[in-house]
Symmetry: C2
Subunit: 221 residues, 2 copies
Amino acid sequence: MLTPRYLYREDFAQFEPILQDAPHRETSFRPGEELWSLDEPILRVHYVRHGIARTSFVNEDGHARTLYFHGPSTVFPGCHEAQFKLELSLVTCAITQMETWEFAVGEFRELARREPELMSAVVENYARQINLLIYESAHQEYNSVMVKLCNLLLLLCQDSSGNAVRLPQEELADILAVNRVNVSKALARLREEGVVLPHRGWVEVLDMDRLAAHCSYESLP
Amino acid sequence: MLTPRYLYREDFAQFEPILQDAPHRETSFRPGEELWSLDEPILRVHYVRHGIARTSFVNEDGHARTLYFHGPSTVFPGCHEAQFKLELSLVTCAITQMETWEFAVGEFRELARREPELMSAVVENYARQINLLIYESAHQEYNSVMVKLCNLLLLLCQDSSGNAVRLPQEELADILAVNRVNVSKALARLREEGVVLPHRGWVEVLDMDRLAAHCSYESLP
DNA sequence: CGACTCATTGACGTAGCTCAAGGTATGTGG
DNA sequence: CCACATACCTTGAGCTACGTCAATGAGTCG
């Protein structure tokens, strides 16, 4: 039974030889550079060789909500044919140095049709996205900032198999769609309880069990 | 450019002959009957011949959030292999009399692998779900109850190509994850403005243009 | 050292939740 | 056709979690 994941990685590792043989362009991005930008329809697909990118949705007022992170051996944004208005408001931004293989979305789609295994992996990947989004919109929405934050910290620790969440508080707030100040206040309470130790730019989890005790059922493994 | 849709229909109409030939079981459901229930892993796929179902996510505390509606010629929930913990909290319930063809999920998956066109339709369908969920979790979350409600009414009218939303206020509240009382209050304001006329069990939209004026950019066609 | 980003803390206002009481359509059985 | 039960809807009062604003502090880098 799988729990939601914010960081995607390794989902397409087995297809690297196939992808290498298919026509593509080798591209690289510096930290902060955008893989695609606002108002840009989705015409390219990236296979990540190295580095991590963040995809977020930018509202009319400029508020950005982080949706997920893409790590090595992942493909995004996908290969569906329909074009959605909302996709124009998505931004993907390299947060570390990145190397990718870039495909035209139509060619990637044809490749996937010829290779049923690859197509199945695309479906699995979409299913994982749906799972995360249902989790956020149907479950997290009802939780208090405190529970939301604990859920997020727990899931991020599971993603990275460690006890360090290497994101600044503003990033955490953007993932949760809550105010940065309230993230700080919730962390202060958790620090008093001895559950976490906030640092500049990252959060250290001291007591994973007590963190889990704050979490909701859907977030536990 | 497509906007989000809460009601799915006709997406798989062209595959009806293929599906008819594949091994399946003809099933029917009365209004209120559950196609699948809480704590039930997803082992079956339905192709809807007639009627409408509602899928919702049920929280620990019993709060249900409506995710989407499935109408004629749609397939759901899909055919991915991974099993997510969250899926145990999903409930699909017939809201009208329904006739469906039921497939074992594994067999449907094999069928889709043999028929690339069908697999592509599955991908398009997943993409549409992702689009709706991003809309809800990244966009609607920031809006006030008033704007949320107007967005929903507009999109539902587009789904049904009419000016009547045939859902009780409690259903609207469950889609928006807001309180039923606040839906009532927002509708009262819209009634004063002459935009809508609330009835028992449904809402009539009197002035579509002024309704759209309340809506946010992402919700407009 | 100064400039920058990131974090902390407090004061304040308000949107939306909860509770509660009452009103109005719809359906059923006598 | 009326009495009654059952949804569904309306409106108001009170509370609180969270957003906003603002001022200060603390780590990092050139």
